[in-house]
C-alpha cells in the first residue's frame, strides 16, 4: 500500500468515480437544511458531490433545490423510499430524466426502525442500474460478500454505513470497513452514522476514499461552521492514510529524544 500511496500527497491525489475526478473527498447530503443553508454548507464543505432525493413535486412554482446547487457540482440522487430493487430502478430512471447526469446512490431499505439497507436487493438494484448505464454507488451494510456482489454487478464505488443513518453514533463498523478497504478494488465511501469530525477523520485514516455526511452537519449548533470542521478532518485523515500511520508499541516505550549525550 505504501508504494501505491507514495507521491499522492500533492496535486495528483484525486478521487475517481465513474470516470469523473474529484478533489474533495467530502460528499454532502442535502437533507434537513433550508435551501439557503444548503448553499452555505456546500460552499464551506468544499463539496464537489451532493446527494438529493426524488419526491412527488408540489403544485406551484416553489423554489427548487437545483437552483441552490453550486455550479459544477456532481449530483448524486438517491433512491430513498425504495423497498425493492425494482422500486430503486424506477426512482433512478426518474432522477436521470430530471436531467442531472447518470450518478445514482442505490438505497434500498425495508427496515423501518434502524433503517438498515437490504444488501440483497441493493446488489440486485446495482446490477440493474449498471446495466442501464448508471454510475451506481450502493449504500450498504458493510458485509464483504455483499460488497463483492455489488462490485461484480458494476458498482462504481461502495458506500458502507458507519452506524444507523442519522444516528451520529460514529464509526461503529470500523473493523468491517477496514476489510472492505483491503479487499474491494473500488472507492469505499463511508456513508451514514458519522457524527463528528474526529470520526470522519478516522474513517479516512483507515483508508476510506471519501466520507458522506448530512445529519452530523444539519443537527450541529452551527451547520456552516461544522461543514468547515468536517472538511478539515477529512483532509487530515486522507493525508494520514497517504502518509501511513506510525506503528503501535504494545508493551514498551521508545524515547523520541536521543539516548546518548546525556549531561552528567
Amino acid at each position: 500500500m505504501g508504494g501505491e500511496q507514495a507521491g499522492k500527497t500533492g496535486a495528483e491525489d484525486w478521487l475517481e468515480i465513474g470516470g469523473r475526478r474529484f478533489r474533495s473527498r467530502f460528499i454532502l447530503g442535502s437533507g434537513k437544511f433550508s435551501l439557503e443553508m444548503t448553499r452555505a454548507v456546500l460552499e464551506n464543505a468544499g463539496a464537489e458531490m451532493a446527494t438529493l432525493a426524488v419526491r412527488r413535486a408540489n403544485v406551484g412554482g416553489e423554489e427548487n433545490i437545483l437552483d441552490y446547487m453550486p455550479p459544477g457540482i456532481t449530483l448524486l440522487p438517491n433512491t430513498s423510499g425504495a423497498r425493492t430493487a425494482e422500486e430503486a430502478l424506477r426512482i433512478a430512471r426518474l432522477a436521470r430524466e430530471i436531467g442531472c447526469g447518470d450518478f445514482v446512490k442505490i438505497e434500498v431499505v425495508r427496515d423501518t426502525k434502524y433503517l438498515l439497507p437490504d444488501n440483497y436487493e441493493t446488489a440486485r438494484a446495482t446490477e440493474m442500474a449498471a446495466r442501464e448505464g448508471f454510475i451506481a454507488l450502493p449504500y450498504m451494510y458493510p458485509d464483504l460478500s455483499a460488497a463483492r456482489d455489488m462490485a461484480q454487478a458494476g458498482a462504481a464505488a461502495i458506500m458502507p454505513l458507519g452506524a444507523p443513518i442519522g444516528s451520529n453514533q460514529g464509526l461503529l463498523t470500523r473493523e468491517f470497513i477496514r476489510i472492505l478497504v483491503e479487499e474491494i478494488d473500488l472507492p469505499i465511501i463511508v456513508d451514514a452514522g458519522i457524527g463528528r469530525p474526529s470520526q470522519a477523520c478516522e474513517a479516512m485514516e483507515i483508508g476510506a476514499a471519501a466520507v458522506m455526511a448530512n445529519t452530523a452537519i444539519a443537527t450541529a449548533g452551527d451547520a456552516a461552521v461544522m461543514a468547515c470542521a468536517f472538511k478539515s478532518a477529512i483532509e487530515a485523515g486522507r493525508l494520514a492514510w497517504l502518509a501511513g500511520p506510525g506503528r503501535v508499541l504494545e508493551r514498551r516505550a521508545e524515547a523520541a529524544s536521543p539516548l546518548t549525550g546525556f549531561l552528567r
Partner: protein
Amino acid sequence: MLVNGQEKKLQTPATLMEFLRAEGYGPERVAVERNGAIVPRPDYDAVRLAEGDELEIVCFVGGG
C-alpha cells in the same frame, strides 16, 4: 385523472406541457411518469392527456 395520487379533473384537452405550465410545475425541473412509463421531456408538447391518465410528477428535494 390521478396526479400524484390526487383526483384531478382535466379541464380542457391539453398536452402534458400545457398541463404542467397551467398547474405551476416547472417542466425543466420535473420528471413525469404517465401510466407507469416515463415521458421524455422532448415529448411533453406532443403527449395529449386523457381522462383516466395517471401521472406521477417528481422533482429533486434535499436528501441524504
